[in-house]
Structure formats: structure tokens, C-alpha cells
């Protein structure tokens, strides 16, 4: 659906935010050209398309740029027909937006914090925030998903995309910290959900492999430490 030339996505394979856009496009069966950015060498096109943030992802539709991953996902939902990413009912939509914002405001920063934490006390504080956040999301899955596989019900929805895109980096965090983020006892629904999301048709071709992310994380960490 859609001529290949008219939809482009500027991205980078390790980025969870780029993954959100890719999953959304896949859910709608949109043909697009993926323009891979190189770390440390931003393309002219990226700088021109996102002068404010100079970051990926950027969706180019008829050469018009749309930036910020959740804004891109909403745009994709509004432009292309196919399975609805956001639910129809306004209060359900509000709940979906609430939990997606929660992932960005609380979960992702805590994950970043774990990579950058200096000292045990700081690390403990971010770990608590991260585990607490996941506990809340477990409850949200129960309430919003109503016993189905995804937050969106039988199919992947907005919250699934927002949180699911973080799974690769969550697995990286688990490897680096020897911490279990998803626990069969404490977050049983999320454990199952993680499997469902990773193996979903719209996701499996574009979710980066954890091993590759671990290698990439090592490069990033080395850079971060050398700049500190």
C-alpha cells in the first residue's frame, strides 16, 4: 500500500524510537524506504528534516517531515487505513496516551539512568524506579488488556508499541546489570506479553537482536566514559 517513494523513514537500527515507527508502518502494511543513519555522522537530510532536534526517527511522507516517535505513530494511525493503533473510544485513547507518556517520562529515563549511574546509591534509586514502573505497567496490562495478549487487546496497539519498542534495551539492561526486569512471579502478564510482542508479525523482522544491541551498548558506553 502506498508507492515506495512517497514514504521514507530516517532511522537507526538500534533506536527503540525508530522501532516504534517501523512497527506502526508494518501494522498498516505501508511500503517505505528505510534510510539508515550512521552513528556520529548525521546526514544532510536528517539535519534538514529535523532541524529542531536533529534526531531519528523522522518520517517523510510526500517529502513532509514528521518528528517525535509517538507523534509519528499517531500520524501513521490517522493517515493509513488498516488495524487501528489507538482505540476508538476517547477515554480509552486517553488511557493509551497516558501509559505511552509514562513509558517515555518514567521507564525510559530510568533505563538510561542505569547505564549512566555513578555509584550504588544512584543505581539503586533508578532500579527502584524502573521496577516500580514495570509493576504499574503489569497492572495496566491487566486493566487495559482485559486478559488478552496485548494492551491493545488481540492486536498490538499504542501502548504495546510504546513499551514493546523498549524490550531490546531492557534485555541489554538485564545483561549489564544482572537484574531481572520481567519476573514470572512479579510481572507474569508482562513476561508473556514480551514474547507475544517480539514474535508478532509486525515486529519480528525489525526488532534488533539483543546480542547486536549489547555490542552497540558497549561502544556507546565507551564513548560516554571517554567524554565524561
Amino acid at each position: 500500500m502506498g508507492e515506495k517513494g512517497e514514504v521514507k523513514l530516517i532511522g537507526a537500527w538500534p533506536s527503540p524510537f525508530v522501532l516504534r515507527a517501523r512497527v506502526a508502518l508494518n501494522l498498516k502494511s505501508v511500503d517505505y524506504e528505510f534510510l539508515q543513519e550512521t552513528l556520529g555522522n548525521k546526514s544532510e537530510l536528517l539535519l534538514r528534516s529535523n532541524p529542531v532536534y536533529k534526531k531519528v526517527p523522522v518520517l517523510l511522507h510526500h517529502d513532509q517531515p514528521i518528528c517525535e516517535s509517538l507523534i509519528i505513530v499517531q500520524y501513521i494511525d490517522e493517515v493509513w487505513p488498516g488495524p487501528a493503533i489507538l482505540p476508538k473510544d476517547p477515554s480509552e485513547r486517553a488511557l493509551a496516551r497516558f501509559w505511552a507518556a509514562y513509558v517515555d517520562d518514567k521507564v525510559f529515563p530510568a533505563m538510561q539512568g542505569m547505564m549512566k549511574a555513578q555509584g550504588q546509591e544512584e543505581e539503586k534509586s533508578v532500579i527502584d524506579q524502573l521496577l516500580g514502573g514495570l509493576q504499574l505497567l503489569e497492572g495496566a496490562l491487566r486493566e487495559v488488556g482485559k486478559g488478552k495478549r496485548f494492551f491493545g487487546g488481540d492486536e498490538i496497539g499504542y501502548i504495546d508499541i510504546a513499551l514493546g519498542s523498549m524490550l531490546g534495551w531492557m534485555r541489554v539492561t538485564e545483561r549489564f546489570s544482572e537484574l531481572k526486569l520481567f519476573d514470572a512471579e512479579k510481572t507474569p502478564l508482562l513476561v508473556q506479553w514480551a514474547d507475544s510482542f517480539t514474535s508478532a508479525e509486525a515486529v519480528k523482522g525489525v526488532m534488533p537482536e539483543t546480542d547486536k544491541l549489547v555490542e552497540f551498548a558497549k561502544i556507546l558506553l565507551a564513548r560516554f566514559k571517554s567524554q565524561a
Binding site: V52, I66, E68, I71, E78, V79, P90, A94, F98, A101
Partner: protein, 219 residues
């Protein structure tokens, strides 16, 4: 009909986030009951309806709570389509959301940083960038106010108060002419003018916050 169920807003008088919600409701002509919360002594109702963040504003539509001011604004737009605050065009909608988010993520922390004397450059820069969102229009939404305008319209108010308290004139008509013109036009809009907290009250409260911050930062 869902749209006809009672609407309540739990807010806190100087909160800019609650203001956004009231502006949006007023712009669409929706009747609501306002309840002022004491954020230092949170009511059981507040804690019940926003257990995750325990913050205002909270919109109660019938018995359903909606929280987070930008999420509330989207809800209001979807539930009451009259006097739209978002365009029907998906690209324009994306732009409105983008600039609202930019103001939220960059201008607000920058304003707070300026107020707490941590730096001026972020404020100067972020407001300059925000001007680009206007793109030659009177308001972010075009000829009349919309989503982004309502989301960011309190910045001029707080900026004016901050500059008065600090005795500064960092941002003005010469340095940021487009922002200045937009501020003036926004605050002049009849719906906005009618729902602005009294200036003296805001000034006194911000002065108190400022003095408290100064006192706590002394060695």
C-alpha cells in the same frame, strides 16, 4: 449521551497545567465545575483519580478520570468536536503536537532554569526556536487559537512574572518579536482574557516560591 455527562476539573489555582484544561473547555463552551485542590494537602479524591502521579489537573467526565494536561486536551477535542483546537489534516495535527511537546520539553524547563537563576541561554534559544513554529502565522493554529497556543499560552504570563521578580528584561519585543506578538495576541483573546488568574495573586505566589528557593540554596 456521553458528551452531556457532568464535567469536573480538579485544579490548583496558579497551576499552568490546570489552566490549559480550563482554556480548552471554555474555548469549546463546555460547562464544568471547578474544584481547587490544596497540593500540599491532597484530597482523597485527587489520590483516587490519579494514583500514579497524584497530581492535578484531573478531568472527570461522569465518573471517568483523565489525567496529564496534554492528554486531557486531546480527550476534550475528541469528545466535544465544536470549536476544534486541532486541524482535520494529519500533518497539521502532527505539527501542533510537535510544537506543544517542544514547548513542554524545552521552554518550560528553560523558564524554570531562568527563574531559579540557573541559566538564561536555554530560555533565549528555546523561545527563538519556538518562534519558528509560528511560521508567519498569527497563532500556531493559524488565524485563531488552537492546541499549541492553549498548551503554551501560559508561558508569556509566567515569563512576565519571572522577569518582574528577577528585575530582568531578557526576553522582550526586540529580542523575540514574533514570540512577543503571539503572546500579546493570545492573552488578548476573549476566552483567554476571561480566564486568567489575577496577576497580583500570581506575582505574590511566584515571589514566595522564589524566596523559598533562594533561602534553601543558601549554605
Amino acid at each position: 449521551m456521553a458528551e452531556e455527562e457532568a464535567v469536573r476539573v480538579l485544579g490548583f489555582l496558579p497551576s499552568p497545567f490546570a489552566l490549559r484544561v480550563e482554556w480548552a473547555l471554555n474555548f469549546k463552551g463546555i460547562n464544568y465545575e471547578y474544584k481547587d485542590e490544596d497540593i500540599h494537602n491532597k484530597s482523597p479524591e485527587l489520590l483516587k483519580y490519579n494514583p500514579v502521579h497524584k497530581k492535578i489537573p484531573i478531568l472527570l467526565h461522569g465518573s471517568k478520570p483523565v489525567v496529564e494536561s496534554l492528554v486531557i486536551m486531546e480527550y476534550i477535542e475528541e469528545t466535544w468536536p465544536q470549536s476544534p483546537i486541532l486541524s482535520k489534516d494529519p500533518y497539521e495535527r502532527a505539527m501542533s503536537r510537535f510544537w506543544a511537546k517542544y514547548g513542554e520539553d524545552k521552554c518550560i524547563p528553560a523558564l524554570f532554569g531562568f527563574f531559579t537563576k540557573q541559566g538564561e541561554e536555554e530560555l533565549v534559544e528555546s523561545l527563538k526556536t519556538l518562534e519558528k513554529g509560528l511560521n508567519g502565522k498569527k497563532f500556531f493554529a493559524g488565524e485563531t487559537i488552537g492546541f499549541t497556543d492553549i498548551a503554551l499560552g501560559w508561558i508569556p504570563v509566567w515569563l512576565k512574572i519571572s522577569q518582574e521578580i528577577l528585575g530582568e528584561n531578557l526576553i522582550n519585543e526586540q529580542t523575540h518579536p514574533l514570540f512577543y506578538a503571539w503572546s500579546r495576541d493570545f492573552l488578548d483573546h476573549p476566552v483567554i482574557k476571561e480566564k486568567l488568574p489575577p496577576y497580583d495573586m500570581l506575582l505574590a505566589q511566584c515571589q514566595a516560591v522564589h524566596d523559598r528557593l533562594l533561602a534553601s540554596s543558601k549554605p
